[in-house]
Symmetry: C2
Subunit: 402 residues, 2 copies
């Protein structure tokens, strides 16, 4: 008997049939003798539909009112799921974010959880109720509804697991777990049994899109054991925890991310502090810079190249063009690039890893524009067109096909 | 400058265009120098759609979860209306039932308002905000959402007007006010300028369907001046208050109600206490009896006839058939009847009123099955088929066509 938190996304509860499917999974877990808290997102396209309704009325709707509106989405899904569980004969109660004790700051649309007051959750569990909680939402100090932003339901689930010291937090998705590469694109992509938080974080950041990053960070901080698994296919998924079983794999996964733009500043005057001034301007505008490359100075000038999110590319260019000290430098933005990465805690003790990756790309004639490495990942920026081929080549080099 | 509470029903906010129309009415009231609190229902068919979603999943859904579900309807409409008002350049905030301080009992689906804690409402008005409040909903002592039942938004509006000592509570509908008869059916039906609470109560009970009864009762108790008016046509409506200007009319209105069944018990043993036993049984099952007629005993038996809501007719018959002491009595139910009534505080001092009504019916050959009178109304039960003709005839007799 354990306390298990289960989280289901919007597509898992998109219609009556799927709601019943989720109710079955939850009830089975409860019937097996566990205490169960379920976190759900809004049904299917509800959130998008509500955003559209708002846009029709006010394209610049106040964020507070937008949160008030969007929070209705989970209100609908939790009560429907509770009704489905009740119809199967199990005791159940649904709780809105504020009823479940979610206190957040006041950043409407992207609120951070400050704390969870778990009294009500505990009281309902003590009454042997299955507790269905609205993900994605909370309340601020003014008693106003807030939402955590897209993917916030993962964070809600992990926060509850942390607050209740749950034994496990299961994140149900439409995939069976975390794979070494996108199984729809890469032949021989394998499901991982286990993975560390840090590896998962790198995979999430790099575009694996299985788990929301904030939720993994929070799981790491509070040592909540996560499991990523399928709501449609009842097989074991991937466990995310502090120390993962290394199996025989050197790397955990190969990912690609096309949400990248490369901004080049060519012919910058080679004065001290230029790079600092550039990047402090960018950070003032909340533009996160990922990889930075700086050429050696020549003829008194140098080149600076960096990568940002695709959306931020043009914004960065406009900002840089307004900086007087860049004078005659030429600023260009390339959005047809992709970042391909390998992730794995095992690689740091294998100095040949980078060489092997570069070799795989060289063999296919794929040109590397930039390189970035950390303890558990190596990323390269290449032409977007080559991304699929690159992932397949690297995957083949590191993960032998069964 | 006054404090005005305005209430808009679901059809008034059914789509973006109508939401903007309501926003315009509200803003104009605010611009004229008034403090404004707006109460809205869920958009158009939202409530019905949600009920359908629930039925698909659980036909016997727990009432608590149904309330949790339905309350999402007003959450959507208040935030959209706030967005529309904001887009017109006015300061506004939306509040859910619990945020606006609505405390209710725990009768899910038909909760009664216990009190309103107006702190938040007052604080927002002090900040010169237009306050948009979700009608129909509140919170019980366990912090669970409750709904007030259909028509509850009228009650919400009046309750706020009472709690804030508002100068007026305007109920916007799709008609221009209270009429002497249904203007779609009766030629010469006139809009009333004023009407008393008691008259309005009789009209509401009798099927005029303009205002929810509980809201009128509450308005009477707290002396809240009501105005019934159109959200589409900006002309003065009907004022409901304690002492109405009598104008020159003897009666205020002629109404018909087809939600009636006539139950007859023929040949009851004429023993003492029989009627008492019958009606106490009915009231135990929450069957409200309206008009009762009892024949004089003959040959040791008598007949008892009474009217109930149409739905309750067959229920009453089944109940009566199970009563041993009714022995050989014959029980029949007639659902093809209607109740036609005249209402007006002026009639009690005019003894000829009933005669005039009966004469109008007699002239058209309409047979009266039962009669009931109170200080301010006279009702007759007739064949349902004759109802429209009867209303027209009576209206013509009492209210001269302009």
């Amino acid at each position: 008997m354990a306390l298990i938190v289960q989280k289901f996304g919007g597509s898992s509860v998109a219609n009556a049939e799927r709601v019943r499917n989720v109710a079955k999974i939850v009830s089975d877990t409860y019937k097996a003798g566990n205490d169960v808290v379920v976190v759900v997102s809004a049904q299917g396209d509800t959130t998008d539909d509500l955003i559209e309704k708002a846009a029709e009325i006010n394209e610049n709707a106040p964020k507070r009112e937008l949160d008030q509106l969007l929070a209705a989405g989970e209100q609908i899904s939790i009560s429907l799921l509770a009704m489905a569980i009740e119809s199967m004969g199990f005791p159940v109660i649904s709780l809105l974010g504020w009823q479940a004790g979610f206190n957040t700051n006041s950043v409407y649309g992207a609120a951070r959880i400050k704390n969870i007051k778990p009294n009500r959750l505990q009281a309902e569990l003590a009454k042997h109720n299955i507790v269905v909680v609205a993900g994605f939402q909370g309340i601020n100090r003014y008693d106003d509804l807030t939402t955590l932003g897209r993917g916030g339901s993962d964070t809600s689930a992990v926060a509850i697991a942390a607050a209740l010291h749950a034994d496990k937090c299961q994140i149900f998705t439409d995939v069976e777990g975390v794979y070494t590469a996108d199984p729809r694109k890469v032949e021989g992509a394998q499901k991982l049994k286990e993975i560390t938080y840090d590896e998962m974080l790198e995979l999430a950041t790099l575009g694996a899109q299985v788990l929301n990053n904030r939720s993994v960070e929070m799981a790491k901080k509070y040592e909540v054991e996560l499991e990523v698994l399928s709501s449609l296919n009842p097989v074991p998924g991937t466990i995310v925890k502090e120390v993962a079983n290394m199996e025989k794999m050197l790397i955990r996964g190969v990912t690609q991310d096309k949400d990248v733009a490369l901004v080049s500043i060519l012919g910058v005057q080679d004065n001290p502090g230029v790079a600092f001034k550039i990047f402090s301007k960018l950070s003032q505008k909340n533009i996160n810079v990922d990889i930075i490359l700086q050429s050696f100075g020549r003829n008194g000038t140098k080149d600076i190249v960096f990568s940002v999110n695709k959306d931020n590319g043009p914004v960065a260019v406009e900002l840089l063009e307004g900086l007087g000290f860049l004078g005659g430098a030429k600023i260009v933005c390339d959005t047809s690039v992709a970042k391909v990465s390998i992730v794995g805690a095992g690689m740091e003790s294998h100095p040949g890893t980078a060489t092997k990756m570069f070799e795989a790309l060289f063999d296919r004639g794929i040109n590397i524009k930039m390189i970035s490495t950390s303890e558990i990942k190596i990323s390269v920026i290449i032409d977007a067109e080559e991304a699929d081929r690159a992932v397949t080549a690297i995957h083949k080099a590191f993960i032998p096909n069964d």
